[in-house]
């Protein structure tokens, strides 16, 4: 029996549920030297902003127990170069391209999404709401009202599906998820990194120049699973689970909790070919368990 690994999210078909997460796979150029990107369900490109950004000074990553902290500071080439060079590079690959968008104000998300509207290679946009919003003094991810408005305004300019990426650094992630749904989001991805810190006890200095950073890797998987579980009960939207995935078992856990697909992030730093192994193992799991399609796993959790 050949198992069907494909998944459809907001009308877009992914050949399998394995995507690479924003900020952990650049724009695909380096990973293309490791494996054929066409094997992936999709690639989510590094957050892009209106203008290029160099990011924070080093050190901007720190190893922690079961993961890492990062405060890269949204280093990216800016939307112009992204469209001219990076999107062009991705053109020939038979995989879905999800373009992650970031900004310091809602109008920047709108401006970038409007530019991407004319680029059919951008199959979908993912809105990174974890960035500080300069005018409001908070993240969009932390405000239901801002999140709803941001999604609505991007939806008005981008003709293909819009996905909002949720932050775990909020009081009630379900409330933000409902606001995004109300704003017209086609899908949600979760979670982004958790705010964290590490200190060097010799110098009394934080181990990141930004003082705090975002925690990722296996250490955050339980938090991410609980978030997916909670949000799957709060909204009807398809979800893409993210957080600490290293193997196919993790993928199954996320899907059982309600995710239609997943993104692999920090694992890529340790095993750059992790997605390929996961896809292979997932296929094997399905046939061994006599499952005809991977989508049969979505939300099949049997909670107490």
């Amino acid at each position: 029996m050949t198992s069907d690994l494909s998944i459809t999210i907001a009308g877009i078909k992914f050949k399998n549920p394995i995507l690479t997460a924003s900020g952990t796979c650049g724009y695909g150029e380096e990973l293309a030297e490791v494996f054929d990107l066409s094997l992936l369900g999709g690639i989510v490109t590094k957050s892009i902003t209106v203008k290029p950004r160099e990011g924070h000074p080093p050190p901007r990553t720190a190893e922690t127990e079961g993961g890492m902290l990062n405060a890269i500071g949204l280093a990216n080439v800016g939307v112009d170069k992204f469209i001219e060079e990076k999107l062009k590079f991705l053109e020939p690959f038979e995989t879905r391209v999800v373009v992650n968008v970031a900004g310091a104000a809602i109008k920047e998300y709108v401006e970038i999404s409007a530019r991407l509207a004319d680029c059919p290679r951008a199959d979908m946009v993912e809105l990174n709401f974890s960035c500080p919003n300069v005018a409001e003094g908070m993240t969009i991810a932390g405000s239901a009202a801002l999140a709803e408005r941001a999604v609505r305004e991007v939806k008005a300019v981008f003709p293909r599906p819009v996905m909002a990426k949720l932050s775990p650094n909020v009081t009630d992630i379900g409330e933000i998820a409902r606001a995004c749904e109300a704003g017209g989001a086609d899908a949600l991805s979760l979670i982004n990194t958790l705010v964290g810190m590490a200190v060097d006890i010799k110098s009394y200095r934080p181990r990141l120049t930004n003082n705090t950073g975002g925690l990722s890797g296996p250490a955050i998987k339980p938090v991410a699973l609980a978030a997916v579980y909670k949000v799957s009960r709060a909204v009807k939207l398809p979800l893409i689970g993210i957080g600490g995935i290293i193997d196919y078992r993790d993928v199954i856990e996320f899907m059982l909790c309600g995710a239609s697909a997943v993104q692999i992030g920090t694992s890529l730093f340790v095993e750059p070919d992790a997605p390929i192994k996961i896809i292979k193992d997932l296929k094997k799991y399905l046939s061994e368990n006599k499952l005809g399609a991977v989508k049969e796993l979505i939300g099949k959790l049997r909670p107490y």
Binding site: G23, T24, C25, G26, E30, L31, A32, E33, V34, E54, G55, P57, P58, P59, R60, T61, E63, E65, G66, G67, M68, N70, I72, A75, G217, P218, L268, F269, V270, E271, P272, D273
Partner: protein, 263 residues
């Protein structure tokens, strides 16, 4: 498009070549042929709860014997885990990664500076140059460490028949003082044409970068930064460029021209 290769390589031999210094001999890559001095491998540490790989310069290789040598000093958790491995076990190795040194012209005089555990890529460059017919007497090889114990593997360097100048901070072997002072004591005045190649502690590289820029001596330095991914996707291993912006040491480096990076 070039290829980034991940392979399981067997540990063929492990030898403590000085207190806390280990020479590790691995099996050769099956999917990669050429190695340039200055390139590195990124190694997973099994049987430990350390999540990230660690980078090690390729110290030597022998395609005939199908071996790769690494030389490391136990500094922290990662290197301690590596030192605990035994022959017969395998290591998950990513590489060879990064850009190597540019070979000098045969008529140039080369000044090599190897500081402590920065020695491996400098040795390999000298070895490759000598093998390609570069006159070893035109290579001034400065090898510095804190004490005699830090000048490991000096007999291997000696076999190249370069002009070898050992130096120790405490004078327990060779010149007494910093490597940069040893260099000044030998190279006085402006002699013909030099080219510098160096790898070592930050202070030494900074001094050589300054020396190269003020004396207008060209050369290359192999630099270091903590490397989460080693392949250019995390943007963690950056250093500031003199011309502005940042460079990824794993991808654009680890070898840079003197003056290129703001040290």
């Amino acid at each position: 498009m070039s290829k980034i290769v991940i392979e399981n390589l067997a540990i063929i031999n492990k030898k403590e070549v000085g207190s806390g210094y280990f020479l590790l001999t691995l099996g050769f890559f099956s999917k990669t042929g050429t190695i340039k001095a200055g390139q590195f491998v990124h190694i997973r540490l099994p049987r430990s709860n350390i999540y990230f790989r660690r980078a090690f310069s390729i110290y030597d290789y022998n395609p005939g014997n199908k071996t790769i040598d690494l030389l490391f000093r136990v500094l922290g958790r990662g290197t301690a885990a590596l030192a605990a491995m035994s022959p017969g076990e395998t290591l998950d190795v990513l590489g060879p990664l990064g850009n190597g040194f540019k070979f000098p012209n045969k008529n140039e005089t080369v000044l090599m500076a190897a500081g402590g555990i920065g020695m491996p890529p400098i040795y390999l460059l000298a070895r490759q140059m000598v093998q390609k017919g570069f006159d070893p007497s035109r290579i001034f090889f400065f090898y510095g460490g804190q004490t005699k114990n830090d000048l490991v593997e000096i007999s291997r360097i000696r076999k190249l028949k370069t002009r070898l100048y050992p130096a120790t901070d405490n004078g327990s072997y060779g010149f007494k003082g910093l490597l940069t002072e040893a260099i000044s004591s030998v190279i006085n005045g402006k002699e013909a044409r030099y080219r510098i190649f160096a790898c070592g502690p930050e202070g030494m590289l900074k001094a050589l970068d300054q020396f190269g820029r003020t004396e207008q001596i060209p050369g290359q330095l192999s630099l270091e930064a903590p490397m989460p991914c080693g392949i250019g996707v995390c943007l963690g291993c950056i250093l500031p460029l003199r011309a502005g912006g940042y460079t990824r040491v794993c991808r654009e480096g680890p070898v840079y021209d003197i003056g290129e990076v703001l040290l």
